[in-house]
Amino acid sequence: MSIDTETARRVAKLARIKVEDDALPALAQEFSAILGFIEQLNEVDVDGVEPMTSVTPQRLKRREDVVTDGDQQPKVLANAPDSREGFFAVPKVVE
């Protein structure tokens, strides 16, 4: 599978990554190379093999339903470019 520059442009836009037009062909080529490698992996017969989700067997870690966090409004807002009355203030998003 090969990725053209239009697809590369679209993927960049979906990921909100700014890519200049002249950089798109190289990016598309890199994508194609990665997908080529994945296609190669697809040739391996994994019928009946459980997908491996972890290198060491382990169970998903869980927490109890207890409130242990929060109450740190100033810290949460500390890195925000703009905040007002306890809210993050962002350029208007109109639906």
């Binding site: 870690k61 207890v66 208007k92």
Partner: protein, 504 residues
């Protein structure tokens, strides 16, 4: 237990210019999971807190923060699945749904696209007119809620509150088995009732704890049956999804107006475009959400921060064993054990608290009489009293049971019982004691009633003559005796005596 079997309701039909059209509706209901903490963080889920105070760094999408799943949320999802008679998947997994919006700081929502925790189930949706629809559930998955954006506090800025960010939602996805606006509302109502019984979602629609996306399409009569036979969606029309509705009334209005829009388009020779729309209740119309169209490529992939979620069958069985009696079972038991009508049983089982109250009143007493008193007198009185709920009732089940016992034993008449109820409601106290102290007991002493009647007959010879000619006028004497005895005479005995004395 009674077997509740119903006929299916007729689908809603809208007459178009060229033909009749039928509605096909599927719902995605987002129910906030009732837990103390969020799905992947230890921040509180409490509604109405100071903005951004219920936020952990995980919720704020800070770099390096890792999600740890809240087992309480998993348990609630399993409990809900069991309540909807659904298959529980012992292995499920979380995926990332990627999109950018200010109230989603991670840049993705953690959801379960490929392996949801709950599979197929079903819900019986009664329409209250003796018909009911079995709506198939396709799946329930766990996912994170987004934050809240406020657009009207400043002309140039939107304000973002992340308190809701990361709160656990159950998305309950139905098959397109719903055939009209009323059915859609009844379906949401039934889900809400079941989840409130289970304690898995408080169902508060005003706070946004229960919201629905509604998929609507229209088809010609006969097409839907072809779909049901084959499960082939090509028999159905193109659907539009109306997003994020949190009112039963708006759900119904939006479905109706969206169906009419689609019919007008098709009859005009145009095509319905599959898209996301927004309902505007002020204008009663749906609008395309074009801004979201491009973002629809969500590029789902398994979340690398989270291992698959494996749960044990034994744990599921423990949860199943702790399930309360659910609405359908309770309703049919009330009908069978207490001889209640379908309607009365529905009213009494609408909320688990009401049902428990009724059972305490009816226990060992006349079930139908108890149902009448709870529904007509108590609910009516509570409604007048600032729309109080049963848990705020000043009359306990014991007290109301006492009143009913006094009626049943013949100690008080139905009319006096209403006065007694009002006294107990406003002043409290033991009903039997009140009756005793205030001399409210029904007079069953024939001698006393006879004396009163004799005086009335003696004082009204003209009425006696009239009643002899027209026996219907005997009622006047009943009224007079009641008046003379302060309403306490036993009506059956009064009638009997009048018949005898007047020779009717």
């Amino acid at each position: 237990m009674l077997d509740l079997t119903y006929d299916a309701p007729a689908p809603k039909t809208i007459a178009g210019a060229t033909s009749d059209w039928e509605l096909v509706i599927g719902l995605e209901v987002h129910a906030q999971v009732a837990t103390k903490a969020k799905l992947f963080s230890g921040a509180s889920t409490l509604f109405g807190a100071e903005p951004n105070s219920n936020v952990a760094f995980v919720d704020a999408g800070m770099p390096g923060m890792l999600p740890v799943i809240n087992e309480g949320c998993v348990e609630q999802a399993v409990r809900t699945g069991l309540g909807l008679k659904a298959e529980i998947n012992l292995n499920s997994a979380f995926d990332r749904k990627n999109y950018f919006y200010p109230d989603l700081p991670q840049g993705y929502q953690i959801s379960q696209l490929y392996h949801p925790i709950v599979g197929e189930g079903e819900v019986l949706v009664e329409m209250g007119d003796g018909t009911a629809r079995v709506v198939r559930i396709e799946r329930i998955h766990l996912e994170q809620d987004a934050g809240k954006s406020i657009h009207d506090m400043d002309p140039h800025m939107s304000f973002v509150d992340l308190n809701r960010t990361g709160v656990a939602l159950m998305e309950i996805v139905s098959r397109p088995d719903i055939r009209g606006p009323e059915e859609a509302a009844a379906y949401v109502g039934k889900l809400r009732q079941i989840m409130r019984y289970l304690g898995t979602c408080d169902g508060n629609m005003q706070n946004g704890n229960l919201r629905a996306d509604v998929n609507v399409s229209v088809c010609k009569p006969g097409d839907y049956e072809k779909y049901q036979e084959t499960q082939d969606f090509s028999h159905l029309g193109t659907r539009c999804e109306i997003k994020n509705m949190n009112s039963m009334r708006f759900i119904q209005m939006a479905i109706e107006v969206e169906a009419r829009r689609q019919i007008a388009l098709i009859e005009d020779g145009q095509e319905v475009v599959q898209e996301t729309r927004l309902y505007d209740p002020d204008k009663n119309e749906t609008r395309s959400m074009r801004s979201k169209e491009e973002a629809h490529d969500y590029r789902y992939f398994p979340d690398p921060d989270l291992l698959p979620l494996e749960i044990e069958q034994a744990w599921v069985e423990d949860i199943a064993a702790s399930l309360p009696e659910l609405p359908d079972a309770k309703k049919s038991r009330f009908m069978a054990d207490f001889g209640l009508s379908d309607y009365d049983a529905s009213v009494l089982t609408a909320e688990a608290e009401n049902a428990a109250y009724f059972e305490a009143v009816a226990e060992g007493r006349d079930g139908k009489l108890a149902a009448n008193w709870v529904i007509n007198e108590l609910f009516g009185r509570l409604k007048k009293d600032d729309d109080k709920g049963i848990t705020d009732s000043p009359v306990t089940a014991d007290q109301l049971g006492g009143i009913i016992a006094l009626i049943k034993s013949g100690d008080i008449s139905g009319k006096i019982a209403k006065d007694l109820f009002e006294i107990v409601y406003t002043e409290g106290g033991d009903p039997a004691q009140i009756v005793e102290e205030r001399g409210m007991k029904q007079v069953t002493d024939t001698g006393a009633i006879e004396t009163a009647l004799d005086e009335i007959i003696a004082a009204n010879p003209a009425q006696v003559e009239k009643a002899k000619v027209n026996p219907k006028l005997a009622g006047w004497f009943v009224g007079q005796v009641m008046k003379a005895t302060g309403g306490k005479a036993n009506p059956a005995i009064v009638n009997q005596l009048i018949q005898g004395k007047l020779g009717l």
